[in-house]
Protein backbone atom coordinates (compact mmCIF):
# COMPACT_ATOMS: atom_id res chain seq x y z
CA UNK A 1 0.00 0.00 0.00
CA UNK A 2 1.39 3.40 -0.99
CA UNK A 3 0.71 6.44 1.23
CA UNK A 4 1.32 10.04 0.15
CA UNK A 5 2.16 12.20 3.19
CA UNK A 6 1.69 15.95 2.67
CA UNK A 7 2.96 18.33 5.36
CA UNK A 8 5.16 21.42 5.28
CA UNK A 9 6.93 20.27 8.44
CA UNK A 10 9.61 17.71 7.62
CA UNK A 11 9.47 16.64 11.26
CA UNK A 12 5.74 15.94 11.16
CA UNK A 13 6.22 14.05 7.87
CA UNK A 14 8.94 11.99 9.57
CA UNK A 15 6.65 11.30 12.56
CA UNK A 16 3.86 10.10 10.27
CA UNK A 17 6.17 8.11 7.98
CA UNK A 18 7.92 6.45 10.95
CA UNK A 19 4.55 5.59 12.47
CA UNK A 20 3.35 4.14 9.17
CA UNK A 21 6.53 2.08 8.87
CA UNK A 22 5.99 0.66 12.35
CA UNK A 23 2.49 -0.29 11.21
CA UNK A 24 3.94 -2.12 8.21
CA UNK A 25 3.37 0.54 5.56
CA UNK A 26 6.86 0.98 4.08
CA UNK A 27 5.84 2.49 0.75
CA UNK A 28 5.48 6.21 1.39
CA UNK A 29 5.89 9.33 -0.73
CA UNK A 30 6.39 12.75 0.86
CA UNK A 31 5.44 16.25 -0.28
CA UNK A 32 6.08 19.56 1.47
CA UNK A 33 2.97 21.37 0.22
CA UNK A 34 -0.13 20.95 -1.92
CA UNK A 35 1.56 21.89 -5.20
CA UNK A 36 4.38 19.43 -4.67
CA UNK A 37 1.79 16.81 -3.75
CA UNK A 38 -0.14 17.39 -6.97
CA UNK A 39 3.10 16.86 -8.90
CA UNK A 40 3.65 13.60 -6.99
CA UNK A 41 0.10 12.53 -7.77
CA UNK A 42 0.68 13.13 -11.47
CA UNK A 43 3.44 10.52 -11.26
CA UNK A 44 1.24 7.89 -9.60
CA UNK A 45 -1.94 7.45 -7.58
CA UNK A 46 -1.39 6.34 -3.96
CA UNK A 47 -3.76 4.15 -1.97
CA UNK A 48 -4.18 6.81 0.72
CA UNK A 49 -3.33 10.51 1.05
CA UNK A 50 -2.49 11.89 4.50
CA UNK A 51 -2.45 15.69 4.51
CA UNK A 52 -1.95 18.57 6.90
CA UNK A 53 -4.22 21.65 6.88
CA UNK A 54 -1.87 24.59 7.44
CA UNK A 55 0.60 24.68 4.57
CA UNK A 56 2.08 27.40 2.37
CA UNK A 57 1.10 27.85 -1.29
CA UNK A 58 -2.05 25.76 -1.01
CA UNK A 59 -3.68 24.80 2.29
CA UNK A 60 -5.12 21.37 3.05
CA UNK A 61 -8.73 21.98 1.98
CA UNK A 62 -7.56 23.71 -1.23
CA UNK A 63 -5.28 20.77 -1.96
CA UNK A 64 -8.09 18.27 -1.38
CA UNK A 65 -10.41 20.25 -3.66
CA UNK A 66 -7.72 20.09 -6.35
CA UNK A 67 -7.41 16.35 -5.79
CA UNK A 68 -11.15 15.82 -6.05
CA UNK A 69 -11.33 17.84 -9.27
CA UNK A 70 -9.30 15.12 -10.99
CA UNK A 71 -11.45 12.13 -12.03
CA UNK A 72 -8.58 9.67 -11.45
CA UNK A 73 -8.32 10.83 -7.82
CA UNK A 74 -12.02 11.24 -7.08
CA UNK A 75 -12.14 8.13 -4.89
CA UNK A 76 -8.64 8.16 -3.40
CA UNK A 77 -9.08 8.16 0.40
CA UNK A 78 -7.85 11.35 2.08
CA UNK A 79 -7.08 11.63 5.79
CA UNK A 80 -6.51 15.11 7.20
CA UNK A 81 -4.15 15.27 10.20
CA UNK A 82 -4.30 18.66 11.86
CA UNK A 83 -4.62 20.75 15.00
CA UNK A 84 -7.65 22.46 13.41
CA UNK A 85 -10.26 20.81 15.59
CA UNK A 86 -13.19 23.24 15.65
CA UNK A 87 -16.52 21.93 14.35
CA UNK A 88 -16.53 24.43 11.51
CA UNK A 89 -13.02 23.32 10.47
CA UNK A 90 -14.18 19.71 10.20
CA UNK A 91 -17.13 20.84 8.06
CA UNK A 92 -14.81 22.80 5.73
CA UNK A 93 -12.55 19.76 5.37
CA UNK A 94 -15.44 17.39 4.69
CA UNK A 95 -16.90 19.80 2.14
CA UNK A 96 -13.52 19.91 0.40
CA UNK A 97 -13.63 16.13 0.03
CA UNK A 98 -11.72 14.77 3.02
CA UNK A 99 -12.81 11.24 3.98
CA UNK A 100 -11.63 11.28 7.57
CA UNK A 101 -10.06 13.56 10.13
CA UNK A 102 -7.37 13.00 12.77
CA UNK A 103 -6.67 15.70 15.32
CA UNK A 104 -3.15 16.27 16.67
CA UNK A 105 -1.99 15.02 19.08
CA UNK A 106 -2.65 11.49 17.92
CA UNK A 107 -1.49 8.06 18.99
CA UNK A 108 0.00 5.56 16.52
CA UNK A 109 -3.07 3.39 17.22
CA UNK A 110 -5.39 6.20 16.16
CA UNK A 111 -3.48 6.69 12.90
CA UNK A 112 -3.54 2.94 12.29
CA UNK A 113 -7.31 2.74 12.84
CA UNK A 114 -7.98 5.65 10.50
CA UNK A 115 -5.75 4.24 7.74
CA UNK A 116 -7.27 0.77 8.08
CA UNK A 117 -10.78 2.17 8.05
CA UNK A 118 -10.09 4.22 4.92
CA UNK A 119 -8.48 1.36 3.02
CA UNK A 120 -11.32 -1.02 3.97
CA UNK A 121 -13.88 1.42 2.57
CA UNK A 122 -12.02 2.12 -0.68
Amino acid sequence: MRVLVVDDSSTMRRIIVNTLKKLGHEDTVEAGDGKEALRALAAGVPDVIVTDWNMPEMNGPQFVEAVRSQPALAKTPVLMVTTQAAKEDVIIALQAGVNDYLIKPFTPEALKEKIQSLTRKS
Binding site: S9, I15, T82, K104
Partner: protein, 169 residues
Protein backbone atom coordinates in the same frame (compact mmCIF):
# COMPACT_ATOMS: atom_id res chain seq x y z
CA UNK B 1 -7.09 20.44 35.94
CA UNK B 2 -4.48 19.69 38.58
CA UNK B 3 -4.69 20.63 42.23
CA UNK B 4 -1.93 23.16 41.78
CA UNK B 5 -3.76 24.85 38.94
CA UNK B 6 -7.00 24.86 40.93
CA UNK B 7 -5.24 26.47 43.88
CA UNK B 8 -3.83 29.13 41.58
CA UNK B 9 -7.27 29.86 40.17
CA UNK B 10 -8.43 30.68 43.68
CA UNK B 11 -5.86 33.50 43.96
CA UNK B 12 -6.13 37.00 42.56
CA UNK B 13 -4.79 36.09 39.11
CA UNK B 14 -6.66 37.60 36.16
CA UNK B 15 -9.56 35.29 35.16
CA UNK B 16 -8.76 34.79 31.47
CA UNK B 17 -5.16 33.92 32.31
CA UNK B 18 -6.46 31.38 34.82
CA UNK B 19 -8.72 29.84 32.22
CA UNK B 20 -5.91 29.64 29.70
CA UNK B 21 -3.45 28.23 32.24
CA UNK B 22 -5.92 25.46 33.11
CA UNK B 23 -6.26 24.68 29.41
CA UNK B 24 -2.49 24.78 28.89
CA UNK B 25 -1.88 22.36 31.75
CA UNK B 26 -4.47 19.90 30.42
CA UNK B 27 -3.27 19.95 26.84
CA UNK B 28 0.44 19.87 27.71
CA UNK B 29 0.00 16.74 29.83
CA UNK B 30 -2.09 15.13 27.08
CA UNK B 31 0.29 16.02 24.25
CA UNK B 32 3.38 14.74 26.07
CA UNK B 33 1.57 11.52 27.00
CA UNK B 34 0.19 10.98 23.51
CA UNK B 35 2.98 12.14 21.23
CA UNK B 36 6.16 11.37 23.17
CA UNK B 37 4.92 8.82 25.71
CA UNK B 38 6.16 10.92 28.62
CA UNK B 39 4.38 11.82 31.84
CA UNK B 40 4.91 15.46 32.73
CA UNK B 41 4.25 16.57 36.28
CA UNK B 42 2.80 20.03 36.69
CA UNK B 43 4.16 22.31 39.40
CA UNK B 44 2.89 25.63 40.68
CA UNK B 45 2.07 28.34 38.11
CA UNK B 46 3.30 31.87 38.60
CA UNK B 47 1.44 34.81 37.12
CA UNK B 48 4.41 36.94 36.23
CA UNK B 49 7.23 37.02 33.67
CA UNK B 50 9.74 36.94 32.30
CA UNK B 51 9.80 33.99 29.99
CA UNK B 52 11.94 31.27 31.63
CA UNK B 53 15.52 30.95 30.47
CA UNK B 54 15.97 27.98 28.17
CA UNK B 55 18.15 26.81 25.27
CA UNK B 56 15.19 26.01 23.04
CA UNK B 57 12.13 28.25 22.94
CA UNK B 58 9.28 27.42 20.56
CA UNK B 59 6.61 30.14 20.39
CA UNK B 60 3.23 30.23 18.68
CA UNK B 61 1.20 33.41 18.54
CA UNK B 62 -2.56 33.63 18.67
CA UNK B 63 -4.92 36.40 17.65
CA UNK B 64 -8.65 36.96 17.51
CA UNK B 65 -10.91 37.66 20.45
CA UNK B 66 -7.78 36.98 22.53
CA UNK B 67 -4.22 37.77 21.51
CA UNK B 68 -0.78 36.84 22.75
CA UNK B 69 1.50 33.86 22.49
CA UNK B 70 2.39 30.55 24.05
CA UNK B 71 5.95 29.24 24.23
CA UNK B 72 7.49 25.93 25.18
CA UNK B 73 10.84 26.48 26.91
CA UNK B 74 13.20 23.52 27.32
CA UNK B 75 16.88 22.67 27.65
CA UNK B 76 18.77 21.31 24.63
CA UNK B 77 18.91 17.87 26.28
CA UNK B 78 15.17 17.86 26.93
CA UNK B 79 14.53 19.05 23.37
CA UNK B 80 16.64 16.19 22.02
CA UNK B 81 14.78 13.66 24.17
CA UNK B 82 11.46 15.07 22.95
CA UNK B 83 12.60 14.96 19.31
CA UNK B 84 13.82 11.39 19.66
CA UNK B 85 10.59 10.22 21.25
CA UNK B 86 8.43 12.19 18.84
CA UNK B 87 10.16 10.80 15.78
CA UNK B 88 10.68 7.32 17.19
CA UNK B 89 14.22 7.53 15.87
CA UNK B 90 17.87 7.46 16.87
CA UNK B 91 19.54 10.37 18.64
CA UNK B 92 21.53 11.07 15.46
CA UNK B 93 18.40 11.47 13.33
CA UNK B 94 16.56 13.35 16.08
CA UNK B 95 19.39 15.88 16.44
CA UNK B 96 18.57 17.32 13.02
CA UNK B 97 14.93 17.74 14.02
CA UNK B 98 15.31 19.37 17.45
CA UNK B 99 14.01 22.77 16.30
CA UNK B 100 11.11 21.39 14.28
CA UNK B 101 10.15 18.92 16.99
CA UNK B 102 9.96 21.69 19.58
CA UNK B 103 7.99 23.76 17.08
CA UNK B 104 5.56 20.90 16.46
CA UNK B 105 5.04 20.39 20.19
CA UNK B 106 4.37 24.13 20.64
CA UNK B 107 2.07 24.04 17.62
CA UNK B 108 0.07 21.19 19.09
CA UNK B 109 -0.11 22.89 22.49
CA UNK B 110 -1.33 26.15 20.95
CA UNK B 111 -3.68 24.35 18.56
CA UNK B 112 -5.23 22.31 21.36
CA UNK B 113 -5.64 25.39 23.56
CA UNK B 114 -7.23 27.14 20.60
CA UNK B 115 -9.75 24.29 20.39
CA UNK B 116 -10.54 24.52 24.12
CA UNK B 117 -10.93 28.30 23.93
CA UNK B 118 -13.11 27.96 20.82
CA UNK B 119 -15.36 25.66 22.82
CA UNK B 120 -15.62 28.48 25.37
CA UNK B 121 -16.81 30.91 22.71
CA UNK B 122 -13.53 32.56 21.71
CA UNK B 123 -12.43 32.90 18.09
CA UNK B 124 -8.69 32.46 17.59
CA UNK B 125 -6.20 31.90 14.83
CA UNK B 126 -2.68 30.69 15.55
CA UNK B 127 0.61 31.52 13.86
CA UNK B 128 3.26 29.16 12.58
CA UNK B 129 5.80 28.27 15.29
CA UNK B 130 8.98 30.30 15.73
CA UNK B 131 11.84 28.43 17.37
CA UNK B 132 14.84 30.13 18.97
CA UNK B 133 17.88 28.04 19.91
CA UNK B 134 20.77 29.54 21.84
CA UNK B 135 22.63 29.84 25.11
CA UNK B 136 22.47 33.49 26.08
CA UNK B 137 19.22 35.21 25.23
CA UNK B 138 16.14 36.52 26.96
CA UNK B 139 12.78 37.88 25.89
CA UNK B 140 10.51 40.51 27.36
CA UNK B 141 6.89 41.43 26.78
CA UNK B 142 6.94 45.13 25.94
CA UNK B 143 3.33 46.01 26.63
CA UNK B 144 0.98 45.79 29.54
CA UNK B 145 0.22 42.09 29.33
CA UNK B 146 -0.85 39.24 31.60
CA UNK B 147 1.76 36.52 31.90
CA UNK B 148 1.92 33.03 33.34
CA UNK B 149 4.71 30.50 33.71
CA UNK B 150 3.60 26.86 33.95
CA UNK B 151 6.43 24.63 35.18
CA UNK B 152 6.54 20.91 34.42
CA UNK B 153 8.91 18.07 35.19
CA UNK B 154 9.64 15.45 32.54
CA UNK B 155 11.80 12.95 34.40
CA UNK B 156 14.96 14.82 35.33
CA UNK B 157 14.18 17.67 32.93
CA UNK B 158 12.41 20.89 33.81
CA UNK B 159 10.28 22.42 31.10
CA UNK B 160 8.05 25.45 31.03
CA UNK B 161 5.02 26.63 29.12
CA UNK B 162 4.87 30.41 29.11
CA UNK B 163 1.76 32.41 28.28
CA UNK B 164 1.46 36.05 27.31
CA UNK B 165 -2.05 37.41 27.02
CA UNK B 166 -2.71 40.91 25.80
CA UNK B 167 -5.82 42.99 26.29
CA UNK B 168 -8.39 40.84 28.08
CA UNK B 169 -7.90 40.52 31.82
Amino acid sequence: MSTAATKAVATDAPPMVEVMVAALVDVTKDIFATMVDRTVEFGEPSYRGPQPTANVVAAVGFAGTLSGYVSLCVSKDAALEIAQALLGSSAEEADAHVRDAAGEMANMIAGSVRTQMTDKGETLGISTPIVTVGTDFSTAALRDVSQAVCPFKMGAHSLFVYLVLQGRK
